[in-house]
């Protein structure tokens, strides 16, 4: 379960190809609904990469990522909509505040392992979700918080899907680049060591406890930034967007894409965001189809799409090659 497949040079090349594809993609779509959906793919890519740093790189599960996502969104939202703060300032405050929260919570939470860790992070997510619902005076409660302003820079207001696409994806690309760099660094190697064996890492002089908390904090900060972006692009937030099911969806994105693969996280985010849109035509059946697709992909591609799709392609190619002569015989 490596986080980097090739050398740093190859990784950078891969990154630039991906960046080029991302930034030219809207030209082919010429705006429209798909760009709107791709904005959300960008936001979920940030979230999935953030979780993947924790789960794929450091081997620590979190079922409460939606809490950091929601805290980022609500801190940004409340500061700008209620207190008329500058959106950029609000975003920075949100990131710092969530970073501090994650750091403080990280020490007791990451002492836990396995299903205890899963349960503690899950509990954290649910508690935060209930707080969003119950503090009606601040958050607006279940009916949500509206009137959140768009971000703007040098007079350009990010108020169309196309502008938001470039805004969100700039952040997403920065997240990906930082994550690639991080996993190639000394810290990344230490994290991989701790993934394989905590005891061995500790013997080699890695401060395991601090390192786990640090990666938890980084993951939280990325998620908070995604939350701020969400708040300022959608301009309306309600607790439903940050519930337990969102944490679960993020976990599914990481696993379906491929645990430990950064571009896999993008694939997972893209698939899980696009599927419900495609299934809209099934109306009420969409949840059933979604469940089946989830089971089938996980069953037949346990290594995730990044590993499963090339395997499938090779398999089909071999089938086609061996299938042709036998057809001639008939």
């Amino acid at each position: 379960m490596k986080f980097l497949e090739g050398s740093m040079k190859q990784e950078l090349a891969k990154f630039f190809v991906f960046a080029a594809a991302v930034f030219t993609a809207p030209v082919f779509f010429k705006g429209g609904y798909i760009v709107n959906v791709l904005v959300f793919v960008g936001i979920y890519t940030i979230l999935a990469v953030a979780l993947n740093l924790l789960l794929g790189l450091a081997g620590q599960i979190s079922l409460g990522q939606a809490a950091f996502f929601g805290l980022g969104a609500y801190i940004s939202g409340v500061l700008t909509a209620t207190h008329a703060a500058n959106p950029w300032v609000a975003m920075v405050i949100a990131a710092i505040a969530v970073g501090i929260i994650a750091f403080v919570l990280g020490f007791p939470i990451l002492k836990l392992k396995g299903h205890y860790l899963a349960m503690a992070t899950l509990g954290m997510g649910i508690i935060v979700y209930i707080i969003f619902n119950e503090t009606v005076d601040i958050t607006g409660g279940p009916s949500g918080l509206s009137g959140i302003p768009n971000l703007s820079i040098c007079g350009i207001i990010f108020n169309t899907d196309m502008k938001n696409y470039y805004l969100v994806w700039s952040f997403a690309m920065a997240t990906i680049l930082l994550s690639v760099n991080l996993s190639a660094s000394r810290i990344g190697r230490a994290l991989r060591a701790l993934h394989d064996s905590e005891v061995a890492a500790r013997i080699l002089g890695v401060n395991v406890r601090l390192l786990k908390v640090q990666i938890f904090t980084i993951s939280g900060i990325f998620s908070a930034l995604a939350g701020s972006l969400y708040a300022h692009t959608v301009q309306f937030i309600s607790p439903a967007s940050f519930g337990f099911n969102v944490s679960i969806e993020l976990l599914t994105m990481v696993i379906i894409g491929g645990l430990g693969s950064i571009y896999g996280s993008f694939l997972g985010a893209a698939i899980l965001t696009l599927l419900p849109e495609l299934f809209r035509t099934f109306q009420d059946y969409d949840i059933v189809v979604y469940g089946i697709v989830l089971i089938v992909i996980t069953m037949f591609m346990p290594g995730g799409l990044v590993r499963g799709v090339p395997l499938l392609a090779r398999f089909l190619l071999a089938k086609v090659k061996s299938g042709l002569p036998s057809e001639k015989r008939v």
Binding site: G123, I127, I130
Partner: protein, 294 residues
């Protein structure tokens, strides 16, 4: 005196929801011990129990005890089918992959239930009468007695099965060491199936006995499942009394918190208790501290 009556009232209702959490938690623990999977579909069997009883009793007009039995049978069949179709075929998958499959299964079961029975909330009739029993100033429904009685029977039967029958002992052997169990001739695959059968039957039973008190709908399984998970974690993921105690603790404290502090934070209270317990004792309240093998 008034405060005492209130406390008694909250404790009584807390004990009966706690009994439900205990049953669901035992289901989690049984599956976890024989497969290393945290089965996120556990709550859906609880929902299926309630909804199927409703369907057989109200829609088809069957006699209630018959409807209850049929509901448990169908829910158990769904559990067994799920294990055979989605869990069993994956031999060497990592537990996390299987956990994702149970999440998919949970979404699927919930979706089918929504299609079949709609999104409305329904109430199942009480098993025997709506006359509350007054006990030292606290009111209790006969249904609460049903809950205590049935939970007690299930837990006793469970204990008997795991300690005094060959299959039960084989399942406990699997939870200690799967490879060694296979070497002594235990059919590990079948034990995995058994664990799903037992857990879904217990979940369904829990869903049925609580439905007359709390109403039921297609999405009732999520929160109940998570609370059951809480109970199992507090009990140290053991299939025994630790989980039962965990369920009762969560149920009572949650009920007291909701009554005395704020009902809006009722669900949060259960998880705050859980976090406090985990922070103080990382292996659960009743779990044994384990030396890690390197």
């Amino acid at each position: 005196m008034e405060l005492f009556e209130q406390l008694l009232q909250y404790t009584l209702s807390g004990l009966s929801t706690g009994a439900i959490y205990a049953l669901i938690g035992l289901g989690f623990a049984i599956i976890y011990n024989s497969t290393s999977i945290i089965n996120f579909a556990q709550g859906e069997f609880v929902m299926l129990g309630g909804m199927l009883t409703l369907f057989f009793h109200i829609t088809l007009g069957l006699y209630l005890p018959l409807a209850v039995v049929l509901a448990v049978v169908v829910a158990t069949a769904v559990g067994a089918l799920f294990e055979r179709l989605a869990i069993s075929p994956l031999k060497d998958a990592e537990p996390i992959i299987l956990v994702i499959i149970t999440i998919g299964g949970s979404i699927l079961i919930r979706g089918v239930a929504m299609l079949l029975w709609g999104k409305d909330t329904h109430a199942l009739p009480m098993f025997s009468g709506n006359e509350p029993i007054i006990l030292m100033g606290a009111a209790m429904m006969p249904q609460n007695l049903w809950i205590f009685g049935i939970t007690l029977i299930i837990i006793t039967a469970n204990r008997f099965f795991f300690h005094h029958s060959i299959s039960g002992k084989a399942m406990r052997a699997c939870s200690v060491n799967r490879i060694a169990s296979r070497l002594v001739g235990i059919d590990v695959k079948r034990m995995m199936l058994f664990s799903f059968v037992i857990s879904s039957a217990m979940g369904a039973a829990a869903g049925i006995i609580i439905a007359p008190l709390t109403m039921t709908s297609y999405d009732v399984g999520v929160m109940l499942g998570l609370k059951g998970f809480c109970a199992a974690i507090i009990g140290g993921m053991s299939g025994g009394m630790g989980t039962v105690a965990g369920g009762l603790i969560v149920g009572v404290l949650e009920s007291l918190g909701a009554g005395l502090i704020s009902s809006g934070y009722k669900d949060a209270i259960a998880f705050i208790i859980l976090l406090i317990i985990l922070f103080i004792r990382p292996q659960g309240l009743f779990g044994k501290g384990e030396a890690e093998r390197v």
